[in-house]
């Protein structure tokens, strides 16, 4: 389809702005500061605009469109009430620098959300400020730095331990926080290899970063021993909350021994992901880390009055503007209030759904760790690849032809040809069965008609896209007719890059 720039016709417009006749003409701007060439923004009437973006939406697939078992992304239903509430003028048109007495409702909502998240994580204090999970990670690591600096141990403790199953954000955050990475292996049952760990944790260790259940969808059976190892060495434990949807009301990170947790509001607590954001990455911590939390803190000042506290001399500072992505808080708060203590039922159902899909699929695909899973699980297309030449990528593309979003693929990295499946609690059994039937049919097709997989998808607006070409000769903006000629005669490369595709 056309780009909006290709629909543009000089002289058209969608906006009419107010004109204030009594105003003087605008003051002259200095010659060297004034714009000389107008930006080539699209020129379309309003209806063309609506048609264009509506057409784009029909070329996109959301969880509202259909089943979306993208592992580690928790693609659950996003209740519509969330949107109505976030759009109320009392929230949408509230300025972040409004005086406290003019923002009591917003501050109370944030304070109440903090209280709920503290209870769900089993920790003492919460900052809602980080904008996403990865920013929560960085914030958590900066807290670790500040904590050890206050103890005079910042030179000594330089290492952060991360298992080989971790999300890529964990090691990236470690580098951004100025730490060194110590990788640790996974054992034959899918737990952290505790023997490997023992040899790597010492007085130079600052922290562990762990997702539990892990990205394999497995709860680490040795979590108590892991806690003893880290706390015994004087180090801290960081919990990547990407998989919190498995354990709400069942097991809390604080009770597992973790000192810092980030929560992905856009996964567990129903903030819609918007095709790539916004998210929310609040962090919850033990009392000993509270003095270092970002400013301002949202506090209750007694008798129903709420405020922003900047008087935190040991704070790490600010990681984001103002007090965080407030509209996300409104949505997650509403969602949490609709569950209350029944959150346990949410997680139980997510785990039941995942185990059911696992039970139906494990004969047709390789299962690297044969255990009950938590809210997600990882299969491998290794045998399909060896015997029929069909990769995890081919399976994923074929899933599209059955009307489902594919699972996460090629992640975690320790499982070859990984297919990571997370159904979430909101799906009906009929949907799960239809997906399982499709996955079983695809496994048969791999044996009988492998080209059906290799040439998939067949029924999407585009067929398989050439990612290698995109990276080799990057075209990252419209050329306004200036670059098309140069593209003629370029050969096409069919192979797609085998990059992880998921959280």
């Amino acid at each position: 389809m056309k780009l909006i720039y290709e629909r543009s016709q000089a002289g058209r417009r969608a906006s009419a702005l107010p004109r204030y006749e009594q105003l003087p003409s605008p003051p002259e701007l200095p010659e060297d500061l004034r714009r000389h060439e107008p930006p080539r923004l699209p020129e379309v009437p309003e209806f063309e605009l609506v048609r264009h973006f509506t057409e784009l939406s029909t070329r996109n697939f959301g969880v509202d469109t259909g089943f979306y078992p993208l592992g580690s992304c928790t693609m659950k239903y996003n209740p519509r009430i969330n949107e109505r509430l976030a759009a109320l003028p009392g929230f949408a048109r509230l300025h972040p620098l409004q005086e406290e007495d003019g923002a009591q409702g917003a501050l109370e909502l944030m304070w109440r959300l903090q209280e709920i998240l503290a209870e769900v994580t089993g920790l003492d204090a919460v900052s809602l400020q980080p904008a996403a999970g990865s920013q929560g990670e960085l914030t958590g690591l900066l807290l670790v730095r500040a904590y050890f600096a206050a103890r005079g141990e910042s030179e000594q403790r330089r290492k952060v331990v991360i298992p080989d199953t971790a999300h890529g954000t964990n090691p990236a955050s470690v580098t951004m926080a100025g730490y060194e990475l110590t990788p640790v292996r996974t054992d034959a049952r899918g737990n952290i290899d505790v023997d490997d760990l023992r040899g790597k944790v010492d007085e130079h260790t600052a922290a562990l970063m762990l997702t539990n259940p892990s990205t394999l969808g497995l709860f680490d059976e040795n979590i108590e021993e892991i806690g003893r190892i880290f706390h015994g060495a004087g180090a801290l434990m960081y919990y990547d909350g990407a998989n919190l949807n498995a354990v709400c009301g069942i097991s809390r990170p604080g009770d597992m021994g973790f000192d810092i947790v980030h929560i992905n509001l856009h996964k567990t607590f129903s903030q819609p992901h918007g095709g790539g954001g916004p998210g929310g990455g609040p962090i919850a911590v033990r009392h000993l880390l509270e003095p270092f939390l970002p400013v301002p803190a949202v506090v209750r000042r007694g008798e129903g009055s709420f405020g922003l506290d900047y008087d935190r001399p040991q704070t790490i500072g600010k990681v984001r503007g103002y007090t965080g992505p407030f509209g996300v808080f409104v949505r997650s708060y509403a969602y949490l209030r609709m569950w209350g203590p029944r959150l346990r039922e949410m997680s139980e159902t997510a785990v039941l759904n995942a185990n059911y899909v696992l039970a139906r699929l494990k004969e047709a695909y390789d299962l690297p760790f044969d255990r009950l899973c938590m809210h997600e699980f990882v299969l491998s297309a290794r045998t399909l690849k060896r015997e029929h030449g069909c990769t995890a990528l081919d399976v994923a593309k074929r899933v599209m032809d059955y009307g489902f979003h594919p699972p996460t693929i090629y992640f975690p990295l320790i499982v070859p040809e990984a297919l990571m499946i997370e159904p979430t609690e909101t799906e009906a059994k009929e949907t799960l069965d239809a997906f399982c039937d499709a996955m079983l049919a695809i496994a048969r097709e791999a044996a009988e008609q492998p080209e059906l997989l290799k040439e998939a998808p067949h029924h999407r607006p585009v067929s398989r896209l050439d990612e290698v070409r995109a990276a080799k000769r990057p075209v990252v903006k419209y050329g306004f007719g200036e670059q098309q000629a140069a593209d003629e005669g370029e050969s096409r490369v069919a192979a797609a890059a085998e990059a992880p595709k998921g959280a």
Binding site: L41, D64, L85, Q135, G168, G279, G317, L465
Partner: protein
């Protein structure tokens, strides 16, 4: 217990599923969890509410806020009450866009991917840059991202930020800099703007110099001179700009900035008590492989048809891990899409008219406040865009409180961030403020400062 509306399974579904799994109860699914780490009690939370109940409760909280529909607001200081057209809401509420994840599977996500490509194009057009990412968290974190790019490009160990840059931005840069191992140096303003010579001296051995145009006081910096001063010192010049000023103010790419970035809220998003919004980040072509975050590129499908994919992913955390250019994954795509819809709605004509209207209204406001309220512009010599600072003759926070009692929020008390500016008010005027409303502000200020 009644069936929860967000769960589909019935009791008989559960029984069938447990049987297929080969366990007797749901509890057995959790047998691998050590006893000591189980909660063993109900979560101590208030009972679940119905949708109607949660609406009444949360709407009640919203009622207790003095938003810009209840107060006549001249509050800006980085977040602005520009009009958001209905088409933005309508497009952002399309479930296919609203409820999609990051477009890892391009054949499922051509809508979002093409929209991001169009957004990147708009940002490049506005800023005069070659490459834009798909968005960052906000106008503060993208400034920190730019410092990371500059550190790796130059190998230098400090960054310079003008004191006239938004304090929120400076605070976030300082927080991140601790992790990056960068020292942060601030250059004071001189009568509301930054002196190029002073900036050049400070920029010696700096990786980057961050300037803001228009700056936090609303004044127009001598941005081309500042950028030249930074470049002279071998630092990457980074311009923090207001997208909506770029219909009338020069594109930073045209005066030599290496990176251009800022807060996208004003373009297409509500103030929403600080978020979610989007930060935009654009750069000259030479920085493309150091850019943080998602970038969408054009390609073709197996049939030779044009399509879009996430590209240059070897920069990113899911492949490069600890060597990535950033840890970012979830960004602000939906809000950036709001920005694209808004900028499309404006078009080049609308953008210029909007800028001119802001200029005219702010000039009118400055004049009326001086005439009718007797306040004095603080940096009278400086050109401004949509915001300006005035002396109010007494503590500006008290002025704010007194004016709010009369239903007018007169602006931001600069003493909250700057020493020696306790009597200074920063007044923002967008196209939503009419001349009559500006007159009302003048009358109220006359009363409360008199």
């Amino acid at each position: 217990m009644t069936q929860h509306p967000f769960v589909a399974l019935t009791d008989s579904d559960r029984e069938e599923m447990l049987e297929a799994i080969g366990v007797g109860t749901v509890d057995e699914l959790f047998n691998e969890l050590p006893e000591a780490v189980r909660l063993g009690r109900e979560l101590d939370l208030e009972a679940a509410l119905s949708e109607q109940e949660v609406f009444e409760h949360v709407a009640g909280l919203a009622q207790r806020n003095a938003d810009a529909s209840r107060e006549l607001s001249f509050l800006g200081a980085g977040m602005y009450d520009h009009y958001v057209p209905a088409v933005v809401d309508a497009i952002l509420q399309r479930g296919e866009l609203l409820t999609a994840y990051t477009p890892y599977q391009p054949e499922m996500s051509q809508g979002i991917l093409q929209a991001i490509f169009e957004y990147q194009t708009a940002i490049c057009e506005l800023t005069g840059m070659d490459v834009s990412n798909a968005s960052g968290y906000d106008g503060t974190s993208v400034a920190a991202d730019a410092c990371y790019v500059a550190k790796h490009t130059t190998g230098r160990g400090k960054v310079v930020v003008t004191e006239a840059t938004n304090p929120q931005v400076r605070q976030v840069v300082k927080t991140y800099a601790a992790g990056f191992g960068l020292e942060v140096v601030e250059v004071p303003h001189r009568d509301g703007t930054t002196d190029p010579d002073e900036l050049e001296r400070a920029a010696t051995d700096a990786a980057a110099v961050i300037i803001q145009q228009p700056n936090f006081f609303g004044c127009l910096e001598p941005a081309p001179d500042l950028v030249a001063a930074a470049a002279e010192a071998g630092a990457l010049p980074v311009a923090h700009v207001d997208l909506l000023s770029l219909g009338v103010l020069e594109a930073p790419g045209r005066y030599g900035a290496a990176l251009a970035l800022g807060e996208g809220q004003a373009a297409g998003n509500f103030t929403s008590f600080g978020g979610p919004h989007y930060g935009f980040l654009a750069a000259r072509e030479e920085f493309i492989r150091r850019m943080p975050g998602r970038i969408v590129g054009e390609t073709v499908d197996a049939a030779g048809e044009r399509g879009y994919v996430l590209t240059l992913q070897t920069r990113e955390q899911h492949i490069r891990r600890e060597k990535a250019t950033s840890n970012i994954t979830t960004n602000q795509t939906l809000l950036a899409l709001g920005g694209l819809v808004y900028l499309t709605w404006l078009g080049p004509q609308g953008l210029r008219e909007l800028g001119e209207t802001c200029l005219s209204l702010a000039a009118y406001a400055k004049q009326r406040l001086e005439e009718r309220a007797g306040v004095k512009a603080v940096f009278a010599e400086q050109a401004t865009f949509k915001e300006f600072a005035v002396h109010v003759g007494r503590n500006a926070r008290e002025v704010v409180a007194a004016a709010r009692e009369r239903g007018v929020h007169p602006g931001y008390a600069l003493g909250r961030d700057y020493q020696g500016m306790d009597d200074v008010l920063l007044v923002a005027v967008t196209e939503r403020r009419t001349p009559e409303e500006i007159d009302r502000l003048a009358d109220v200020l006359a009363e409360v400062t008199g």
